[in-house]
Amino acid sequence: MAKVSPLEIYKHLPGLNCKECGEDSCMAFASALIERKKKYEDCAPLVREEKYKKKLDKLVELVTPPVKEVVIGTGERACVIGGEEVMYRHELTFFNPTALFIDVSDDLPADELAERVAKINKFAIERVGQKLRLDGIAVRAKSGDPARFGEAVVTAVENSDLPLMLCSFDPEHLEVGLEIAIERRPLIYAATKENVDAVAELAVKHNAPVVASSPGDIQGLLELVAKLRSKGVEDIVLDVGTYPLGAKFGSSLENMVMLRRLAIEKGEKLAGYPIMGVPLVAWLNGDEPAKAAMQECIIASTQLLRYADLLVLHSMDMFSLLPLLTLRQNIYTDPRVPIQVDAKLYEIGKPDENSPVLLTTNFALTYYTVASDIEAGKVDCYLLVVNTEGLAVEPAMAGAKLTGSLVKEAIEESGVENKVKHRKLIIPGMAARISGEIEDLTGWEVIVGPIDSSRIPAFIEQKWKSEA
């Protein structure tokens, strides 16, 4: 429902304002539908009463995203991809972050394979209060032996609760994998021009989502999708091929953009599915591992920005995963969430009248970074947030949006003087220049803190505790 207005939705609601959905009015429900806080099924009269059938059909059509949502896996870690409605995040938001699958190949020794699976399963890193994780395991049929592939799938199922992707062009392999893992709703990779009949049959029989693969050829891909649909396959993922840096990489990126534009702006149903990429191809050149991992990160980052909803990777090195996970965290941030937090006094942990008072700006990211660093260090303190019009410390200093008089105002308005007995203020290292100004205007003693907020806990430990 790319860029549908609440009014357009409203036209297809009963207009009873019955509040059965939990909203105050049908108009409010229309807005909630657009923001995906509600589902159309939440409108009980619409679903219940025969006379609204026409409205219901029209509404379903309106609220169904142009890119189908596909669910892989089951349970808590099931992964939802696609479901996007816009080309550009500022037009609404992107909904389902790109899923990152890590490969395991079936020719690995059993214990190594189990170890790798477990490692993928438990991988997590904390950033700005969010736990960043990997989303699935791609089991590759490298050995060519269906029995061995089956063993690898068993190992993956037993050692993780992550969604699986079964990777082989041979329907026999895929069938073995599906028999084992069907309870986990794995993604089948892949139907191609050559095997589409057999793979479509497997997908329908096991009700599993399936990848349509047609490297370098959008037309062929759309034909493949049409074929899968005609066989009754509903959940499809599009693979138009991935290449190491070079001209083919460039055109594969453009193919991804074209697919998404066809789906969202041209209403082409055959292109209305999630898109996948395989940055793992960086390992096909025979480069040394660090170089291949870096190239993999670069390909993955670029594809993530070009509408890839699922990526298959090989490297588990943190130096290459961290930039990618961070980029994903950034791009899938909801742009409707304000860039600023309220400028006021925040309590972190359980501060008392002797706890330190730290200062930062009201740029949301600055605030969350500082707050999560302080929380991680288990420091009980007050965090005084100054209104810098949403600028981080450095630009606020450069643009004179963080000044002594603003700090004075913040201190007075926050009531911090009633909360603590002392009059000591810890300011960011990058704001050192205005420490004299603050002291003159407020009478508080200024302590210049670290430049990077990750050093705050150590700073409090060494400087504050010795002074207090």
């Binding site: 049409a226 070079g246 460039g250 074209m258 870096m294 860039i339």
Partner: protein
């Protein structure tokens, strides 16, 4: 018989097969030089047919796929991004070996056919040593930073399309270097390199207008980019200097698209010709607000092509800000080796703004610059890369 190899290759492309009869090649080494793109179809035919893909079982008859007509989804756009020329050659009164053109897009995407100029990379050079740099950058530039001219020369060797000389030491809070000395630095850099240059000020709103007036005069007719004018200083003086001495102006705001429109409009009203304006929305670091920059660039480019003239200018990004992220420089064992992590952080930051629509990326780490240029050349089809067979990812 004299063989013209190019003709042979051409004929190979056009026909199914070619046989050479009664020909003896009496050479020690035969080098066939031809564009790879021309040879690829032939090389592909020489490879055994799709051995790695699944062979259809002989008893299975494949049903034909339904036929689909596919057309590239290209769009019509009303607007066009202004094309800006950086640098001037001797014939134009400057001393650069060539000029660099940026912007000029008539379409949002390269595949729509309206792109003439590639995004370019500028290396940052500073007028004083930068011992506070993260380790990876100290290692890259520490041997050169005693002399801005040396630093600039090395930057060009390492692939810079442009060089930005940042006159940071002129800031009264840094070293308060006199303006006359800063002007000398600019002259030295202009002599040391023959690429177009960007001149960065002190960041001090009181000093910058006077600084730009002076450096604009010593660099007269070199068509530099004066970086930058912002809403907090007397931008009229910078515009006047740019017009008088023949330079471009960078219009810099803090992540606010309305501010960008306002400042661009003011600069134009003050007499800056449209083909002299480049804009900088501020580049937030990966992990620290990059999405704001990403979205602002996308909005600028989309609105420009819709016909919004106040925004229809090329975009420059200070990607170097990537190094402000702790993940780029801090030594944390859990995050893996920082000698890889840092340059990768800058690379991902650069590719994000480039994908969003940036025309100039100001950068610092040589391997990040190399990577971003490879991506740009991939998109523009100027770098063939290593040929792989995609399906083999299952077998690697």
């Amino acid at each position: 018989m004299k063989l013209n190899l190019e003709d042979i290759i051409k004929s190979l492309v056009d026909v199914e097969s070619i046989e050479l009869e009664n020909v003896e090649l009496d050479v020690e080494e035969l080098v066939i030089q031809a564009k790879q793109a021309m040879l690829m179809p032939i090389l592909q035919q020489l490879q055994p047919q799709a051995a790695a893909t699944l062979e259809a079982k002989p008893e299975q008859k494949l049903e034909a796929l339904p036929e689909i007509t596919f057309e590239k989804p290209v769009k019509e756009y009303r607007g066009q991004v202004e094309e800006i020329t950086l640098g001037a050659t001797r014939s134009e009164g400057g001393s650069r070996s060539k000029v660099i053109k940026i912007g000029g897009q008539r379409t949002l995407y390269h595949f729509e056919g309206g792109w003439v100029n590639k995004p370019v990379v500028s290396f940052d050079v500073f007028d004083i040593p930068q011992p506070q740099f993260p380790k990876a950058l100290r290692e890259a530039w520490g041997d050169f930073w005693d002399s801005p001219a040396e630093w600039a020369r090395e930057a060009v060797k390492r692939g810079a399309d442009l060089v930005t000389i940042h006159l940071v030491s002129t800031d009264p809070k840094v070293k308060d270097t006199p303006i006359s000395e800063a002007a000398k630095t600019v002259e030295e850099v202009l002599q040391a390199v023959d690429v177009p240059i960007v001149i960065g000020g002190s960041g001090n709103p009181e000093k910058d207008p006077a600084l730009f007036e002076k450096v604009a005069a010593v660099a007269e007719n070199e068509r530099c980019l004066l970086a930058s004018a912002n809403l907090d200083l007397d931008h009229k003086r910078i515009v006047d200097a740019a017009v008088k001495y023949n330079h471009n102006v960078l219009s810099w705001v803090s992540l606010d698209i309305n501010d960008q429109k306002t400042l661009n409009k003011l600069l134009l009203e003050e007499g800056l010709p449209r083909e002299r304006l480049v804009q900088d929305p501020t580049t937030a670091a990966l992990g620290y607000g990059l999405e704001y920059t990403y979205t602002m660039i996308e909005r600028i480019k989309i609105n420009a092509l819709k016909g919004e003239k106040e925004l229809a200018f090329p975009v420059s990004c200070g990607v170097t800000n990537a190094w402000a992220a702790r993940e780029a420089w801090m030594n944390v064992a859990e995050w893996g080796p920082r000698e890889y992590r840092g340059p990768l952080w800058e690379t991902v930051n650069a590719l994000a703004v480039m994908i969003a629509g940036a025309d100039i990326m100001m950068m610092l780490h040589p391997s990040a610059v190399q990577a971003i240029k490879a991506i740009i050349d991939s998109i523009f089809g100027d770098y063939q890369g290593v040929e792989i067979k995609y399906e083999n990812w299952l077998k690697v």
